[in-house]
């Protein structure tokens, strides 16, 4: 039941004992403020690393070719290794049960134009699986599909920024874009979390590029992801087997480091994961640390407050206050102060992150932020802690004989 008089008593007590109220409020607000800011910064660090490593699928393997550096099987060093469609098919078939997605890539730099707008872009000619490898997000339309591949159709999927550059404020979907003199139909527009560069790309079917730019079946690079059920060791074993098989296939010396290069992100991602784990642990330690400091602070203050109010409690009891009313007046006061102060700390903390956040990007802290619900949970934790910390001394005080309380000075 809402007891207006009780609240009036509590507000008077808070208002007339301002030093005490401010002291306890400050402790709580400061703890929450610290909690929000530290958590925000840690999250910002995490974001930075996520951006650096988290764009591509973590189970990716990139296969590149180069020139041989060693003579092998009667062939001289300096031979150029060139992947072709048949190599793509070979990998796909040989490792059928280990490969999740696989795509070839052909790179091309072209000049693209639409009406009066023109600019230079990179084209990636790919297989349909590329979408999943690169985590490309289709904003409008569709991605390259198998049908495009079979028919080598002249279609492209363009990045959000390409659309913005060339089509100004109109939609590119369905329109024809001119790539070095040849018109291509825009069948899709995509976005990518990998940053602006990734959104200034143009994708086209790999077969189209092979036909248009050289009439061959060359592939510059093969990317794949392995079955996510493979563990770390199995993933490494898979990539070394891949290296061995490819070297045999191209008659490359097994000690040649340049001719065929396989980069397994599992090795990187293990480091990233370890770093993330360390960062998460640090975040948790910081979070719990500040919370515990806050809890200890509010507990001490509650004990102090009850001690300070002992005489008042004695007077109230002599005048006929029930133990319950004593406990509730102390408890509600502390909960109220904690809640308000916690809220203030939350607002200030969020405000600081908002204002200072963008300036921290130079220090590898990107978008420092905490979820409101997390900070609210922290505040509630403090309220509960303050409540528990206040409850026991309040309960004890409510039970002592009035004469003992009155004797207190």
């Amino acid at each position: 039941m809402f007891d207006l008089d009780l609240w009036r008593e509590i507000f008077q007590s808070i208002n007339k004992n301002r030093t005490r109220s401010l002291l306890s409020g400050f402790t709580v607000a400061f703890a929450i403020l610290l909690f929000a800011i530290l958590f925000g910064i840690a999250n910002g660090l995490k974001n930075t690393f996520k951006e650096a490593f988290g764009d591509d699928a973590t189970n990716s393997i990139f296969i590149n070719s180069g020139r041989t550096t060693k003579a092998s099987k009667g062939l001289q060093a300096g031979r150029r290794i060139q992947f072709k469609n048949e190599d793509y098919d070979y990998i796909k078939e040989t490792y059928n049960n280990k490969v999740e997605f696989i795509t070839g890539r052909v790179y091309k730099n072209i000049n693209a134009s639409f009406r009066n707008e023109q600019n230079n872009y990179s084209v990636r000619a790919v297989h349909p699986d590329h979408q999943f490898l690169e985590k490309t997000k289709i904003k409008e339309g569709r991605y390259i599909n198998q049908n495009d591949l079979n028919n080598a159709t002249k279609v492209v999927v363009i990045g959000r920024l390409v659309e913005e550059d060339l089509f100004l404020r109109t939609s590119a979907l369905g329109k024809y874009i001119n790539l070095s003199g040849i018109p291509y139909k825009v069948v899709g527009v995509f976005t990518d979390d990998g940053g602006d560069n990734e959104e200034r790309l143009i994708y086209m079917p790999i077969t189209t590029a092979q036909q248009v730019y050289g009439n061959n079946d060359y592939i510059d690079q093969i990317n794949l992801t392995y079955n996510p059920e493979l563990n770390y060791d199995q993933a490494l074993a898979f990539s070394s087997s891949l290296v061995r098989k490819l070297k045999e296939r191209f008659l490359v010396a097994s000690s040649d480091q340049r001719a065929i290069r396989v980069r397994n992100l599992a090795a990187d991602s293990k480091k990233v994961n370890q770093f993330n784990l360390a960062l998460t642990s640090i975040i948790l330690i910081i979070g719990f640390g500040t919370l515990i400091a806050g809890i200890v602070g509010i507990s001490n203050i509650m004990i102090f407050i009850v001690k300070e109010r002992t005489k008042e409690i004695g007077i109230r009891k002599a005048l006929g206050a029930s133990p319950r009313s004593i406990v509730s007046i102390i408890l509600i006061e502390s909960i109220l102060i904690t809640a308000i102060a916690g809220y203030v700390g939350l607002l200030i903390g969020m405000g600081v992150l908002e204002v200072v956040g963008p300036k921290l990007e130079a220090y590898f802290i990107k978008d420092p932020a905490v979820s409101t619900s997390l900070v609210i949970s922290a505040t509630i934790t403090l309220i509960i802690a303050g409540g528990i910390a206040g409850y026991f001394p309040a309960k004890r005080a409510s039970k002592i004989k009035p004469i003992v309380a009155l004797r207190d000075d």
Binding site: L4, D5, R8, E9, Q12, S13, K16, N17, K311, E312, G314, I315, R316, K317, A318, L319, G320, A321, S322, P323, R324, S325, S398, K399, K401, P402, I403, L406
Partner: protein
């Protein structure tokens, strides 16, 4: 009004204990005005606190207005303190952050009276002790005599049957003491039962009965001819 039989009370002091009340027998009728006297440490305050339910006896019987006071729950005790008993302390015991009016209204708050009603009633009692103009002042802005009058108004506000005062004039000069005593006599005239502890013979003589304690027992208990304060001035 109240009956006490063979009341004992000891305080633990270290390993031993100090036997303060050693078998008190006392009966007080309604409308009496009793002074409790005795040297320092004789147990006067202890006795008054037990009567006022601020403290508990170790053994013996205490019946207040027909109700045996023994092993009461805190909740019940709170109700009795609120409805039956009014206290006046030597050190006033006002709540320092509340003004005079709010202090007087506090026992009424614990009676569950509505805010408007209790403020009116508190104001009425403040007027009675002549402090209507000081209603909004904090204790620290009032003199000792004024504070004691606020405390009296507070004790009266709940309309208790028994008024207990522990050296109510102990912290006041003679003139102010007499003003307070005049007031207490007036309350007794109106029918309130009053028990007060005092060190001063002249104050004791303004009561109708004097009980003398020594070493935890009643040494003398006699009715006296009440001296009216008005006769002194």
């Amino acid at each position: 009004m109240l009956e006490i039989h063979q009341l004992h009370k000891s305080y633990p002091i270290g390993d031993s204990s100090l036997h303060v009340l050693k078998g008190i027998d006392l009966t007080v009728e309604s409308g009496e005005m009793v002074a409790i006297m005795g040297s320092s440490g004789s147990g006067k305050s202890t006795l008054l606190n037990i009567i006022g339910m601020l403290d508990e006896a170790d053994s013996g019987e205490y019946i207040l207005d027909g109700l045996p006071i023994k092993d009461l729950t805190e909740k019940k005790a709170a109700v009795y303190r609120n409805k039956f008993l009014g206290f006046i302390f030597q050190s006033f015991n006002l709540i320092n952050y509340k003004n005079a009016l709010e202090n007087v209204a506090l026992p009424l708050y614990y009676q569950g009276m509505k805010r408007k009603e209790r403020q009116e009633l508190a104001m009425f009692h403040l007027e009675k002790v002549g402090l209507a103009d000081w209603a909004q002042h904090l204790p620290k802005e009032l003199s000792g005599g004024q504070n004691q009058r606020v405390a009296i108004a507070r004790a009266l506000a709940a309309n208790p049957k028994l008024l207990l005062a522990d050296e109510p004039t102990g912290a006041l000069d003679t003139k102010t003491s007499y003003e307070i005593m005049e007031f207490i006599q007036q309350l007794n005239d109106e029918g309130k039962t009053i028990l007060m502890v005092t060190h001063e013979e002249d104050i004791a003589n303004m009561c109708k009965r004097i009980v003398r304690l020594r070493d935890g027992v009643i040494m003398e208990d006699k009715k006296v001819q009440q001296e009216r304060v008005s006769a002194y001035v």
